[in-house]
Symmetry: C2
Subunit: 211 residues, 2 copies
Amino acid sequence: MTSVSTEPRDTDGPRPATAPTGGSAAQRERRRRILDATITLAAEGGFDAVQMRAVAEQAEVALGTLYRYFPSKIHLLVSALAREFTKDVDRSAVRATPGDTAHERIMYVLNRRTRALQKQPKLTEALVRAFMFADQSVTGEIHEVGTSLTTVIARAMHGTPDHGEVTEEEAAIIRIISDVWLSALISWVTGRMDEKDVEKSIDVAVRLLLR
Amino acid sequence: MTSVSTEPRDTDGPRPATAPTGGSAAQRERRRRILDATITLAAEGGFDAVQMRAVAEQAEVALGTLYRYFPSKIHLLVSALAREFTKDVDRSAVRATPGDTAHERIMYVLNRRTRALQKQPKLTEALVRAFMFADQSVTGEIHEVGTSLTTVIARAMHGTPDHGEVTEEEAAIIRIISDVWLSALISWVTGRMDEKDVEKSIDVAVRLLLR
DNA sequence: GACTGATGTAGAACGTGTTACAAGTCTAGA
DNA sequence: TCTAGACTTGTAACACGTTCTACATCAGTC
């Protein structure tokens, strides 16, 4: 019952607060309210509940303003996802990941994140769907998410907050793990896997890749 | 610019030709026309071009009839994907896959399929998007696609059309390869990877998993 | 051949993402 | 302070997936 644009929008000049930083204080504040509203609505009712009119109303901005900040529902949701993920990365930088082996540490990190997502199934559904539906025009936001995940896994692999250099092979392994994780998440969101399946499929992948 | 329902529809009794077989000849014929129209429109203009009114018109059925056969745009597209994939499986059953090692054979099979998809980027975009957006109500069709891919990879692994028993570990490896392939395909469809990247990422995954 | 229920048709109607527009408001620079 | 231009607002309109309704057609049964 929801509409989603898959066409890139025309870029008629710079938009005011596309980036998290920059713009006036009022603009950063509006941007924050919009993302907060998005997360709230998504957490309550998932993808379908994030209706542009509802977001605008709850964030107390006009619909046109909402579209000025985020050119589509997908951009909006992916930006929200990026913000949530970035918070998580910041947290992981603080201390070393527990676990004696790379396998244990990676599973610790991914399971923690997976469980956090599973605690808010509606929110996760909305964000994953948006992520999947995103096209070229959302590359920037998506890349931010990907980088943040890579960073977290790399840190877990080495067990230290400063993850130093990552070898070619390690980078490849991390990419594969991310793929498996994403794929499992999709299956979970779409009801084709349960929580156990998700953990197990990642565990198997990590085991096969780190041997 | 397109609308997509993510809500399961109420199932008010059996529908006439949900399955490829069954129903009268006229019904099987209608179903074929609908899927043909879907593929044609998708090949021309991608996901957005598969508009339910347009499909109905081109297939020469009423809109209501279209919805009787396929309860949503997603079902329609995933069913179309399933039909195309199944064709491919049938083909792979005919002869042994060329290649001296499992790695070579798997790459041969996946690359052939990848290139086939890349020859019709719009079509692929439409099908992958639908696949990603599908929810529980499409589990059946999705499972069909997954099984067909697994079968093809299993055959390639062993190098024989009859792929005999697959060990637990082999099944796990196949799942991971599928995940990587899907993930790469998503990246390609959404413009975040080019053809080379897709092949390379699968190649790396297969190498790391089969060592 | 007439009846009946399932199936198909044509078209209107509704919801939500997206766009357009006219008018108000705020900010920087003169 | 005044003004130009950017930014916001409120609201209407449009597109397309989806649903609904009234009627036509067809297959099987008597």
